[in-house]
């Protein structure tokens, strides 16, 4: 299943679908958040308006080459992560570019955008950016612990690193999903999912409600537009990955979007209900409880599937 030129076209289609799903979900999420807070909230298509507005803005200033490339790295990371995941099981054309690597590639490609964005934010010279990056990286490394443990657990369970194979082995009913065959690992994975979705209680990096702090502080207009594009794609890519690894994957777009929506809502619900952690608190939380839980889950997995 190697590379064929037609795949590029399908990849673009798939990217387009997921981008729109992501944009709509962003809007819906904000709406839900507002309603829980007894506000009316935005229109669900507001993100589109924002995006168009940002791309159309003219005030463009740059702090240097890395600053310029930061959003490029970020979006490349988001698109890349998505395109290395086989999206629809059984569909040769919607397997994206998964021939290039397995889930380890996806796992580490997450950092591509992160690191690039961090560099761009760094060159802006804004102290808030650096602070945000420092917090963000620190928290991500902690939040990735359960993520990695969960991935390792799944790989141990199925004795494979190939996402396609893992989805394949979950076919044939809900009882075959990792969620059912290995619930402990799935719980760990969900915690990791929460940790990486940039929502409360793990959203100190951006701290959207109070001050314009965080890596994007200095990014505006088109740069911000690129970042917003990524905010639609990147979380969706992660969600699709989780759907594939833990919830049986999907054999068509309808199932995929449904599963992704439900999974996405987990982070929304938690984020709306729980208040925010400080960075050192969240790191400690991941290192203490989640790590222990993860290790137990991992040991259980090795015993169950040996």
């Amino acid at each position: 299943m190697g590379f064929e030129p037609i795949k590029i076209l399908y990849a673009i289609i798939s990217l387009f679908i997921i981008f729109n799903v992501g944009m709509l979900l962003n809007g819906i999420t904000r709406k839900i958040g507002a309603r829980v807070g007894r506000r009316h909230g935005i229109r669900f298509y507001q993100p589109y308006i924002d995006l168009v507005k940002n791309y159309a803005l003219r005030s463009n200033i740059s702090h240097g080459i890395m600053f310029y490339l930061g959003p490029v790295f970020r979006l490349t990371g988001g698109i890349g992560v998505y395109l290395f995941i086989p999206v629809i099981y059984g569909s040769q054309y919607f397997s994206n570019f998964s021939f290039a690597g397995d889930m380890v590639l996806v796992l580490y490609f997450i950092f591509f955008g992160l690191l690039g964005m961090a560099l761009g934010a760094g060159e802006s010279g804004h102290p808030y950016s650096a602070l945000g990056v420092g917090r963000g990286l620190a928290q991500v490394t902690a939040a990735e612990i359960p993520l990695v443990i969960a991935f390792l657990g799944v790989a141990m369970q199925y004795q494979s690193l190939s996402i396609t194979e893992i989805v394949g082995m979950q076919q044939g009913g809900i009882m075959n999903w990792t969620m059912m065959t290995n619930p402990l690992i799935t719980i760990v994975a969900l915690i990791a999912f929460l940790g990486t979705m940039m929502r409360s209680p793990f959203d100190i990096v951006l701290a959207p409600q109070e001050i314009p702090i965080g890596p994007p502080t200095e990014f505006h207009s088109t740069f911000l537009g690129v970042l917003q594009t990524n905010r639609a794609i990147f979380p969706m890519a992660k969600t699709v990955l989780f759907v594939n690894l833990f919830f049986g994957g999907a054999t068509n777009w309808g199932i995929l979007i449904l599963k992704a929506f439900i999974l996405y809502m987990v982070s929304v619900v938690v984020g709306t209900v729980f208040p925010r952690f400080r960075v050192d608190q969240s790191i400690r939380w991941f290192y203490k409880y989640v790590l222990i839980l993860g290790v137990i889950a991992l040991i259980a997995t090795t015993f169950m599937f040996k």
Binding site: H63, F73, T76, V104, Y108, T141, Q159, L291, T302, K306
Partner: protein
């Protein structure tokens, strides 16, 4: 040939007549004095040469009777050798003291001659009573010479010397009387024969008393306070003779009366020697005065020689067997020359404290001479002491004397510790403007001493068993020697010479290497050549850099070629020595270089134990190929050797030397020692582990323990790295972490595991060399290593920035660069092996790496440019060139991982045939997953370009703004220091992790060295300086030894 009796006739005759000649003028008497010393030396030399060529030993009879009825002297091989040494030393020391002798009365010269003659007598006589006479002559003459310095200290030391000497004489006389009573003879050879018949408690006691007299003269611990005072306060020329020549004489007496000793007395001697060796070196740790320190070292060395000799004879080696000769001879000649030389230097320096000696830096040649003596004494190659110790350890371990070997190595470790501390102080302490003066008469003995030592070393290395195999090191050694002579040339000339010669050597050597040796050959030698390129930035001569840099690479090349344990160990030590000197060149490197050396030497000694055990269980062979076939004590040997190698790769616990040593080193030394030298430890592990594949101690699998050590190293090294403010230390800690991956990969003992390990090693070699060069260039320009003092340098040093960027991407393992290969393989091996717990720690460690990677690039290159760095220039081209080459290498490795990893897999298949990677069109397949390096690179590139194009399209009119044009609370900041976030960047991480972030290893080693130092300080209180106390020591010592000897 001249009859040896003329040695005495010359000395005595001159002694009687000198005062007469002195009336004719001091010049006349001095000429005669030196002529006599030269004559004595010539007679010994003539006999020595003749005996070497096969002449018969000769006996000299006096008074017309044959022994046992008359006194006779003997001139055999041993006597000729010893008298030659003593007389030559007498001559040289006499020359050294020319000024002193000129200014004192003629008695000085007379007594000097008597002293030398007495020692000659001690060596040559075969008669017990005559021995006593010569002992007295030597003692009295020595006592008088001690008084040549007319100060209170020297005089009181002389008095204590007389007390001790008096007691010894009394004991000697009583012993002799009793022995005469039992055997009826005074002739030593006949006495030994007669003693057998007269055995019994009383005969034993009489030999014991005689022996004690000798032992006291040999300054046993703790009954040696008097000797220390002598060493400390007496004229350097005289003390050189006391430390070297007199000890030689007394040792020879011990050698002569050995036939009288039964086994329990032999063991007593050995025990006393061992205790003396260990304890005087332990106390030496605490010593701050140079000459007293040399005293401790002398006493220790004599103890070691006694112990080695007595143990070997006890083990059944004949007194004059090759083994005994090699071991004691090697130890002795090193001590003899080096100690005399150091005392002479003490005479030139005339500084009491160790730090004060740094004034010799005014004369580089003197530093060289000093260094040679120090290194020789610490038992490093190529000096005879090294080979002697090697032989001794091999022999003792093969006879099962493990504890004794361990004690000897412990004592040697203490000695190396204070010697290298001293060397470090001399090399690094800032000295006052004080000018140092050395006269030609002081230079002559020193140069002869050094040349003699080097000559003896070259000759000695061929004598020992297996010595012929060391010829693999001759060619590099020749280059090193040549570089010493060429050191007056400017640095760029030497740099070119070294690059050319090393390229040629690499060209010759590499094609002959196979499998992993070829791979390491590329890292060691090709990497070595590349890392010489930055050397062009140095102006001036760069004195002393090139010989030692080449020495390090010579050691590394030696490792590649090593086929037996002797070659391996010699190369290892040569590499250590060269790298130590490289490391200590850094401005603030002194304590770190010392700790590097201590860990290296400690590790090497543990390794030596392992090699000794290996020798003892494999049928006494040095062949490394037998490592795979040993059946006994496999686990222990494995552990001992592994610890030796692990100190070099700085696994957690053994790592504390690394951050300082790598962080403080010079710009081009840091990448050398980090990217290349660390792999030497890995090379050792590969050799070891490919031979012994399943080492066990009891039920514990050692490789399993190593896997934990590896992952803890990854975690600890990376975690410490994120807290560093110093950019080079950050990189150094990162090396600790990276070598942890290497260790973990090896410990898996599978095909994929080793492939992972090698991938990490290769990557680390590439990116760490590049990062250290780039950061070194930055540090050179901004003149600080603190990252928070930098910032915004991307605009001033863009190429360095790109290097660091590529470096950290490769380091952190983010695709599409080659670092990802390691990560991908890691997951595969974790699933293959099922070691998930280690996997978790390992991966957490890997995640933490992102933090320091970002910090490194952000704090230095991004953020706000500081006012004082606005005119900083890009790093020199010589530093940039290798960086660019390394970038290309990383890019190639990233795009075509198969072309690199496939050959590696092929030779790994010879060790581990199962589980290899399946390569299909450059895509790697394992049982679990797949990875297409080129594909990932291209997809990423295309997406990147597409997004970039999109941004350019929508963003046409971007304008660059000035540094402070940021959204900053409605005002414009003006001070970069206040807006650049850099200091204590990951404070929250430290707060979150709490106890995990504490430096436990450093505390442990600090505590341990504290224990040694305070023990030394406590024991040292024995030496009150009071003659009466010393007398009590001697008496109590003899009683205690008697109790032991009777009991044992």
């Amino acid at each position: 040939m001249v009859n040896p009796i003329y040695i005495f006739i010359l000395a005595l005759g001159a002694g009687f007549l000198l005062s007469l000649f002195d009336k004719a003028g001091r010049k006349v008497s001095m000429t005669i004095f030196y002529a006599v010393l030269a004559g004595m030396t010539a007679i010994s030399a003539q006999w020595f040469i003749a005996l070497l060529q096969g002449a018969e030993p000769t006996l000299i009879f006096t008074a017309g009777f044959k022994p046992p009825f008359s006194i006779n002297l003997q001139m055999g091989m041993e006597e000729a050798f010893f008298t030659l040494l003593v007389n030559a030393l007498g001559l040289l020391s006499g020359i050294f003291m020319m000024k002193k002798l000129q200014s004192t009365k003629v008695n000085g010269m007379i007594l000097f001659l008597m002293m030398i003659m007495g020692i000659n007598g001690l060596i040559m006589t075969r008669d017990m009573f005559n021995l006593f006479v010569f002992m007295e002559i030597t003692s009295i003459a020595t006592f008088a010479m001690i008084g040549i310095e007319r100060n209170l200290k020297a005089l009181s030391a002389g008095f204590k010397y007389v007390i001790a000497g008096g007691i010894a004489s009394i004991f000697f006389l009583i012993g002799t009387i009793y022995l005469y009573r039992f055997t009826g003879v005074l002739h030593i050879d006949s006495m030994a024969a007669a003693l057998d018949m007269a055995s019994g408690q009383v005969a034993f006691l009489s030999v014991f008393i005689l022996l004690m007299a000798l032992i006291i003269e040999l300054k046993p611990f703790p009954a040696n306070g008097w000797a220390l005072d002598v060493y400390e306060s007496v004229n350097s020329g005289v003390v050189a003779i006391i430390a070297s020549a007199s000890s030689a004489g007394m040792l020879f007496v011990l050698y002569k009366i050995t036939p009288l000793l039964n086994d329990s007395l032999l063991l007593t001697v050995a025990g006393i020697g061992l205790v003396t060796f260990v304890f005087s070196n332990l106390i030496g740790l605490k010593q701050q005065k140079a000459k007293r320190l040399l005293g401790y070292s002398s006493i220790g060395q004599i103890g070691l020689i006694m112990a080695a000799y007595a143990f070997l004879v006890h083990l059944g080696y004949a007194q004059n067997s090759t083994t005994v000769m090699l071991v004691t001879g090697g130890l002795f000649i090193t001590h003899f020359i080096a100690k005399a030389g150091l005392f002479w230097i003490a005479g030139i320096v005339e500084k009491e404290n160790l730090e004060g000696w740094s004034i010799i830096r005014k004369k580089p040649i003197l530093v060289f001479v000093f260094g040679v003596f120090i290194v020789a004494l610490s038992g490093l190659p190529p000096f005879p002491g090294f080979f002697a110790k090697w032989q001794l350890v091999m022999t003792l371990t093969s006879k099962g004397m493990i504890f004794v070997t361990a004690m000897i190595l412990l004592g040697s470790f203490f000695e190396a510790a204070y010697l290298f501390r001293w060397l470090g102080k001399v090399l690094k302490t800032e000295s006052e403007e004080y000018e140092i003066k050395a006269t030609i008469t002081q230079w002559i003995p020193l140069s002869i001493g050094v040349l003699a030592l080097l000559g003896v070393s070259a000759y000695f290395s061929t004598l020992i068993p297996g010595g012929a195999s060391l010829k693999i090191l001759y060619l590099p050694m020749l280059l090193i020697v040549a570089l010493f002579f060429l050191d007056f040339l400017p640095a760029w000339v030497k740099n070119t010479i070294v690059i050319l010669l090393m390229s040629f050597y690499t060209w010759q050597l590499l094609p002959g290497l196979e499998g992993y040796r070829f791979l390491f050959g590329i890292i060691f030698l090709v990497g070595g050549v590349l890392l010489f390129i930055p050397g062009y930035i140095f102006k001036g001569k760069r004195v002393g850099f090139y010989p030692f840099a080449v020495m390090m690479y010579a050691g590394l090349a030696g490792l590649l070629l090593a086929e037996n344990t002797l070659q391996l160990f010699t190369a290892w030590e040569i590499m250590t020595l060269g790298s130590y000197i490289l490391i200590i060149r850094g401005k603030k490197s002194e304590p770190h270089a010392l700790s590097y050396m201590l860990f290296s030497i400690g590790g090497a000694f543990i390794m030596l134990m392992g090699l000794g055990l290996f020798y003892s269980v494999n049928g006494q062979s040095f062949d490394l190929a037998l490592l795979g076939s040993i059946t006994q004590s496999t686990g222990i040997i494995f552990v001992l050797l592994a610890i030796g190698f692990l100190t070099k790769i700085a696994s957690m616990g053994l790592h504390i030397w690394l951050p300082g040593a790598h962080g403080e080193a010079e710009t081009d030394v840091s990448p050398m020692v980090s990217a290349i030298l660390l792999k030497a430890g890995m090379f050792g592990l590969v050799v070891l582990m490919s031979a012994i594949q399943n080492p066990m101690i009891g039920n514990v699998s050692i490789t399993y323990v190593m896997s934990w050590l590896g992952v803890i190293t990854v975690f600890g090294g990376n975690l410490m790295a994120i807290y560093q403010e110093d950019a080079k230390r950050l990189l150094a800690y990162s090396s600790v972490g990276n070598l942890g991956y290497v260790l973990f990969g090896l410990s898996l003992m599978t095909h994929l595991g080793w492939l992972t390990s090698i991938t990490y090693a290769l990557n680390h070699f590439l990116f760490k060399a590049m990062l250290f060069l780039a950061i070194g260039g930055v540090v050179m320009r901004v003149k600080t290593k603190n990252m928070y003092e930098m910032g915004g340098l991307i605009k001033r040093m863009p190429i360095s920035f790109i290097s660091v960027l590529i470096g950290i991407i490769a380091l952190s393992g983010v695709p599409p660069l080659s670092g990802f290969a390691g990560k991908w393989l890691t997951y595969n091996v974790l699933i293959e092996k099922g070691w998930v717990l280690q996997g978790v720690v390992l991966i957490i460690g890997g995640l933490i790496a992102f933090l320091y990677c970002f910090r490194l690039i952000h704090t230095i290159f991004l953020g706000q440019l500081k006012d004082n760095h606005r005119k900083v220039k890009e790093a020199p081209i010589a530093i940039l060139i290798p960086q660019v080459l390394f970038i290309f290498a990383i890019m190639f490795f990233s795009a075509y991982p198969g072309m690199v990893l496939r050959p590696v897999g092929d030779f790994l298949a010879k060790i581990f045939p199962q589980g290899a990677i399946d390569w299909q069109n450059g895509v790697a397949f394992t049982a679990f997953g797949h990875w297409d390096g080129l594909g990932v690179l291209m997809i990423t590139g295309v997406i990147f370009m597409a997004v970039f194009g999109w941004l350019l399209l929508t963003n046409r009119k971007t304008q660059k703004v000035k540094q402070f044009n940021i959204v900053y609370a409605a005002e414009r900041p003006s001070r970069p220091e206040l807006t650049h976030v850099g200091y204590n960047f990951f404070a929250h991480y430290r707060k979150a992790l709490g106890v995990l972030s504490k430096p436990y290893a450093e505390k442990f080693w600090d505590g341990l060295s504290g224990i040694f130092h305070s023990t030394a300080g406590f024991i040292r209180k024995l030496y009150t300086g009071n003659g009466q106390t010393y007398l009590v020591h001697i008496i109590v010592f003899i009683l205690v030894v008697y109790a032991f000897a009777m009991g044992g």
